[in-house]
């Protein structure tokens, strides 16, 4: 049985100039696997991820024929039920740890806050769990990190802390929105291997949202390619090079390659029928 | 009308003027949606109209005394808001008083913020000892209670409307300098300033052409919100007899003269008080609305 099922998801923003659709009928299902959602800015990939947690603020509206997480209907769930799901069963990692961690609390306080508040786990035990989570994301001296404030951490360290924080309640599904885009390539590889191990060892589902087609192709099992709020192509990640859709092909081809020819890079041709507003 | 609208909202303007007017039109659309701001704008607009047409609207000469008709209550035929202790029509005096209030506001609004902007942006842009010296001067001015400092200045320069304005302006600039400096510090290290510096622009061009436009919105908002305070200080100086001199119909002065019979003939002090209240409220509402419209953080889309 699939962990998450989404059918015909739509996100609409009511603006002064009329309704704007950010997501136009996206459907997918997710098992205990790594699903990549790729697209350029404005493709609706972030909105899709946030919709699963119903984290779209007005004037945005979510509509879907079906959105079921582990047997629970997310469209009918009350705000209270959603709060119980968020963090606890569905975690989310954002792009920039700088804006997601509270700057005036130490990492330790932030890591144990949920445990203390939600699960009523007391001091030493909560701390032990937090340290274990930091060790799980390959932080070598968890005690120092526990006492540090977010600004004292490097970007890669901050992102690992974010992941650790999301892992403490042991969620069944993790939504990672550009979790490595702010990181250097070498650090990026480490963070990805941590995520990878978690999916394998804990049987967690992962939605990996990124603009980087190559990264997603290397890291995920399945890829959804989004363009202007629609899924234009869904394919196995290892068959990415066999992609058929002109948009996916364009995205693959427009990247410079080490050792590639010096001629102009092929631009993305947006003149095809698929790029028009009403295309299915 | 619709062609004008299309011209204003054209995404590709063909001249500088069209681009600027188009932006102003969008700002107007934003403020028009904010009801309280519109209420403030209406009040401020009324003040302008009343000041402009006071001689046409006012039923009486504000200075002519008629001792046979002194201290008449509101609603008396011919004196809608009653008369004061010299038999002058209070309504006419309030209407003419709008001119003096507006005069003070206008003078303060063109002097204090300009001085504050200049000092704040220069201090923020250059930093170092320039910043230290300018901001300590600002601190000294800020440390004085405003009314007391204004009083001291008027006491030295002598009472009168010009000196009152000068005193208010000299006490009103430090907050603007503070705001302008804070904005400058956030703007100073941005890439667009680096780019224009790299093109060889001098400090004057950078401050005036690039930094001041970024500070302007927050200063304008603050000016509007401060106008209520300026009216009150002007009224306070008038009330203490250090601002506008009798028999000029200034609102603060009118309250001061009505104080003697506050319990028997309440309207003499209350009517100009209501005028001050209404105009202050108008400026405050407008300022709040402008904050929503002009705030650079919300002006993105």
């Amino acid at each position: 049985m699939s962990l998450l099922e989404v059918q015909n998801l739509r996100v609409t923003f009511d603006t002064e100039t009329g309704p704007v659709q950010a997501v136009r009928g996206v459907s997918f299902s997710l098992g205990r696997e790594r699903l990549g959602i790729v697209g350029e800015s404005g493709s609706g990939k972030t909105m899709t991820g946030r919709s699963v947690l119903r984290l779209i603020r007005p004037p945005g509206r979510i509509a879907a024929d079906r959105m079921v997480f582990d047997g629970q209907d997310l469209m009918r769930a009350s705000e209270r039920d959603m709060r119980a799901l968020r963090g606890k069963r569905i975690g989310m990692v954002m792009q920039d740890p700088k804006y997601s961690l509270n700057p005036v609390m130490t990492v330790g306080e932030q890591l144990t806050e949920g445990l203390r508040r939600r699960d009523r786990i007391r001091g030493a035990e909560a701390r032990a769990k937090a340290v274990a989570a930091l060790e799980a994301v390959q932080i070598r001296d968890p005690d120092r990190v526990m006492a540090a404030y977010p600004h004292e951490l490097s970007g890669g360290m901050g992102q690992r802390v974010m992941i650790a924080m999301m892992l403490i309640p042991e969620p069944d599904l993790l939504i990672a929105d550009e979790p490595t885009s702010a990181l250097d390539v070498t650090v990026q590889a480490e963070v990805l291997s941590i995520l990878d191990a978690l999916v394998r060892d804990r049987g967690m589902g992962l939605i990996f949202i990124s603009h980087d087609l190559r990264l997603v192709g290397r890291f995920c099992d399945r890829v959804l390619v989004m363009f202007k709020g629609r899924v234009v192509e869904e394919l196995e990640a290892r068959r990415l090079t066999e992609a058929r859709h002109p948009y996916t092909r364009g995205l693959l081809n427009c990247l410079p390659r080490i050792g590639g020819p010096r001629e102009p890079l092929p631009g993305l041709d947006r003149s095809g029928d698929w790029a028009k507003e009403g295309a299915a | 009308m619709s062609t004008l609208r299309a011209w204003l909202t054209d995404p590709s303007p063909t001249s500088r003027r069209q681009a600027r007017l188009g932006q102003s039109y969008l700002a107007w659309l934003r403020i028009r949606r904010n009801r309280l701001a519109m209420a403030g704008l209406v009040i401020v607009g009324l003040l302008l109209l009343v000041a402009a047409f006071a001689p046409l609207i006012a039923p009486h000469d504000p200075l002519v005394q008629d001792l046979s008709r002194r201290l008449l209550p509101p609603g008396t035929p011919g004196n809608l808001l009653g008369t004061d202790d010299f038999g002058r029509d209070i309504l006419s005096r309030i209407l003419y008083g709008a001119r003096i209030t507006l005069y003070i506001i206008a003078l303060v609004a063109v002097t204090a913020p300009v001085l504050g902007l200049l000092i704040g942006t220069v201090a923020g842009y250059f930093g170092g000892w320039v910043d230290a010296v300018l901001m300590r001067i600002t601190d000294i001015f800020l440390a004085f209670p405003r009314l007391i400092l204004a009083l001291a200045l008027v006491a030295v320069l002598g009472p009168g409307i010009g000196n009152a304005v000068l005193a208010i302006a000299l006490t009103a600039w430090p907050p603007y300098a503070r705001i302008a400096r804070a904005e400058t510090l956030t703007v100073r290290n941005s890439d667009y300033i680096a780019a224009v510096r790299l093109q060889g622009a001098g400090a004057g061009r950078i401050i005036w052409g690039h930094i001041v436009p970024m500070c302007l919105p927050s200063v304008i908002i603050r000016v509007t919100l401060d106008m209520a305070g300026v009216i009150l200080i002007a009224a306070g100086l008038g009330f203490l007899g250090l601002g506008v001199q009798p028999p000029m119909p200034e609102w603060g002065l009118m309250i001061s003269s009505g104080r003697k019979f506050l319990f028997e003939q309440w309207w003499v002090a209350t009517m100009p008080g209501l005028a001050i209240f209404l105009v202050s409220l108008g400026f405050n509402l407008l300022g709040d609305g402008l904050r929503d419209v002009l705030d650079p953080r919300s002006a993105g889309k």
């Binding site: 070498t186 993305l268 | 780019a195």
Partner: protein
């Protein structure tokens, strides 16, 4: 002799009693009409070198020469007409309250160059933007269009050297391709010399003739383009950087 010569450059930032050595003893030479890349991870000091050339970083040692002349502080108008820079974030590098017209005509006004109307229109068409964009504000443009405006602005004074600080890292992949093609075309047409900073080895490889790999403010290794593509690096760090970019390699099956 190189057009840009940097010799033993050191940059040290002082903040609250702490010293941060952003660049330490870096030397490099860029020949005329050459395209030279600086690559490294964040904090490697690559962008600081560009800022040091522009006089926007505290140089504490070494020398920078342009065309054989040592640079003086302040840089002066002659420098502006020789060296210009394109910044990383097109959302931060254009003044939000100036029209494109104002942004592009400003350098001409500073240097008292006439004929600004015609020059602004020409600059826009040169970077592939319609002339009707002239009186728009930056928020009415997309990221790629803004970066084109930033490139047009840098070229207004007809400099011979363009410093490029991660010019495409804030852009979508398809827009990156367009901007890189634009830069390549402009370099050919105008005989420009590029000094380009990037964290993306593939972008550097596509654009540059030689690359300097940097780490922690120091130069690690200089590589010619062929050596980079053939993985002929001698230092461990350059190799690890290369291997982390493995997915940016040319697919051997599709090699021409």
């Amino acid at each position: 002799m190189g057009l840009i010569e940097i010799e033993n450059l050191s940059v040290t930032f002082r903040a609250k009693g702490r010293e941060v050595r952003a660049v330490e003893g870096v030397s490099l030479t860029v020949g005329e009409r050459e395209s030279y890349g600086l690559v490294g991870e964040s904090g490697s000091g690559k962008s600081t070198i560009l800022r040091a050339i522009c006089g926007m970083a505290p140089v504490t040692g070494g020398q920078i020469r342009i065309g054989g002349e040592a640079l003086r502080m302040p840089r002066g108008p002659g420098f502006s007409r020789r060296v210009q820079m394109v910044f990383q974030d097109p959302y931060a590098s254009l003044h939000p309250r100036h029209t494109i017209d104002r942004t592009l005509s400003e350098p001409l006004a500073i240097h008292r160059i006439g004929g600004s109307d015609a020059k602004v229109v020409k600059a826009l068409t040169d970077v592939g933007l319609p002339a009707s964009f002239r009186f728009r504000y930056p928020h009415q443009l997309s990221g790629g269009q803004r970066q084109r405006v930033a490139i047009a602005r840098a070229l207004m004074l007809e400099p011979s050297i363009l410093l490029l600080d991660e010019p495409t890292s804030a852009l979508d992949a398809s827009v990156q391709a367009e901007v890189l093609n634009l830069l390549t075309r402009l370099r050919e047409e105008r005989g420009l010399t590029f000094l380009m900073v990037s964290h993306d080895l593939a972008v550097i490889d596509h654009m540059c003739d030689r690359v300097l790999v940097m780490q922690h403010g120091r130069a690690v290794e200089e590589l010619a383009r062929d050596d980079l593509a053939a993985a002929r690096m001698t230092t461990a760090y350059a190799r690890s950087l290369f291997e982390a970019s493995a997915d940016r390699m040319l697919d051997p099956a599709k090699a021409p």
